[in-house]
Amino acid sequence: MSEIFGYPIPVILGQLMLGLVNGSFYAMLSLGLAVIFGLLGVVNFAHGAFYMLGAFAALIGLETFGVNYWFALVLSPLVVGIFGIILERLLLRHLYKLDPLYGLLLTFGLALIFEGVMRDQFGSGGQGYPVPDALQGSFNLGFMILPIYRAWVIVASITVCLVTWFVIERTRLGATLRAATENPKLVQAFGINVPLMVMLTYGAGIALAALAGVLSAPVIQVSPLMGSSLVVVVFAVVVIGGMGSILGAIVSGLALGMVEGFTKVIYPEASNIVVFVIMAIVLVLRPAGLFGRE
């Protein structure tokens, strides 16, 4: 048996693999969005832009300062995360008491600014980022060829996602964080510096997006516009998964990536829209999202 529904298995597996790679990025981004929303009540529209900045930080690091991939994996999220923290202190902080829609609008404006600046500096076209030496080549699994870098992206992102989940759901720090989400005043009364925690959480969420950006740099073209289309899909993922759940964000991200990959095999024209169609169906059947509570 080498075909399913008339499509050769290696083709299906190849696309599912690509879908899983995209799904890892969806998972990391929606995870960051969920964490930020939980604590700050801000839907970070600039998340895609930070993802793009993460990829560019790696690219610029490599070309200008000779920073290799492995250092970029650490440095780029750090730099972009600190940048995010500065923005939180300067701008976002003033909006916490207002309608969350203002946060959405402000970060939308920020996304436009970042995109515009990068487009002015680097043009709209994409630039390649070389796959690091250690991750070149591919495994031959017998039934399919698996490029090592793609396997690495999937393993690395799932690990990062699970670690984040563990920290939030299973550690003391995470418990404090969740408590601050429920009732910041009370947590503050226990002597915990909530504004500092909010600031660091925002930084961490941004760093996750930047990390996804670095991971994606060798598999896609690094371009100023790479974030703006992604963020819309990630929003749909978040609506499907329900923003309240960390695990929900991870699972829906990965699953939807694979659904997208599978659609590329059976009906390529719909691969761009399948996530939105699923979102519409979920809205009809379970308006609160698959993992959400109303």
């Binding site: 839907v43 404006g109 436009l112 995109e115 515009g116 002015d120 979102m279 809205l283």
Partner: protein
């Protein structure tokens, strides 16, 4: 309506009627009016209904595409072609509205954004939209066979008349019992539910109205400039209409018109000189608006007038 306000409106209308005889490029004004209609339609939803749609370019774009297609491929005349564009926007508004009103607040924004992107991809791939090229060479036709709209002056009065009509219609809608219930829902939805109002029906209706008028704006823009392209359905266009409304003043009547004027003028004067910095400037205005200027130009002006009156 207070007498001073009425007089102010009269002055505005006279200025609008006189504009083509002054030395102003009529196509620029007509583009501005099309976007002003778009922003007024958007404001009906955001300012009076309290719903932030992040995908309004979908209706604008559908209006533009359908009208252009009816004119170029089906050789329909202007008015019926515009009606088809509005109908398409209305149908999209019904479907998307039904889905989006199932959630509120930021979820509503995210859902409309995602479904707007869906419409974009459909337009990108549909056979009749001309893909990346769009539909070019859209002739303006006639006004019911009586007046040729190829003439810029005739077209100008047609678009201006529609802007005035939409403006008055929105004033009327907001003042009606329907508009009052809408305001009640915006202020306190649970309360409106407990008073026995079918909240979802009101929300859906205002959503459809807004989408239909956005479609009209798109149709007019396509006729004025003679083309419909993917830019019309793009996420960026949804952002622009939000900015126009926010900058002018959401929930004020004249705000969206002022906002459209500022944004269209900015783009018109800046795009040749600064290239991709236009995006940066628009983003920066967004940030400033949200941080320091949440009532918008007209809103702040009204607040200032109120403060002065209170002191006097």
């Amino acid at each position: 309506m207070r007498r001073s306000l009425f007089l102010f409106y009269v002055v505005l209308v006279i200025a609008g009627l006189a504009a083509p005889w002054l030395d102003i490029y009529p196509v620029y004004l007509m583009t501005l009016y099309s976007f002003a209609i778009f922003a007024c339609a958007f404001n009906l939803l955001l300012g009076f209904g309290g719903m932030l749609s992040f995908g309004h370019a979908a209706y604008f774009g559908l209006g533009a595409y359908l009208t252009s297609w009816m004119v170029t491929s089906q050789h329909w005349d202007t008015i019926p072609a515009i009606l088809v564009g509005m109908l398409a926007a209305m149908l999209a508004g019904i479907v998307i509205g039904l889905l989006a009103i199932r959630r509120s607040g930021i979820y509503f924004a995210m859902i409309t954004l995602a479904l707007g992107q869906l419409v974009y991809f459909v337009c990108l791939q549909a056979p009749f939209t001309g893909g990346e090229n769009g539909i070019q060479g859209v002739a303006r036709g006639t006004l019911l066979g009586l007046v040729s709209l190829r003439n810029d002056i005739a077209m100008y009065y047609f678009v201006f008349g529609l802007l005035v009509a939409v403006f008055l219609a929105i004033r009327r809608i907001v003042a009606s019992p329907f508009g009052q219930v809408l305001k009640a829902i915006r202020e306190n939805e649970p309360r409106a539910v407990s008073l026995g109002y079918d909240v979802d029906r009101y929300k859906l209706l205002v959503f459809i109205l807004s989408a239909t008028l956005a479609g009209l704006a798109g149709s007019l823009k396509a006729l004025v400039l003679g083309f419909a392209t993917l830019t019309d359905v793009l996420q960026g266009t949804s952002g622009e209409v939000i900015l126009m409304t926010l900058l002018g003043g959401a929930g004020t009547f004249l705000g969206p018109v002022v906002g459209a004027g500022i944004v269209v003028t900015l783009q018109d004067t800046l795009s040749d000189r600064v290239g991709s910095w236009v995006t940066v400037i628009i983003g920066a205005i967004f940030v400033i608006c949200v941080l320091a200027f949440r009532r918008g130009v007209v809103g702040e002006f009204q607040a200032w007038l109120d403060r002065r009156r209170a002191r006097a």
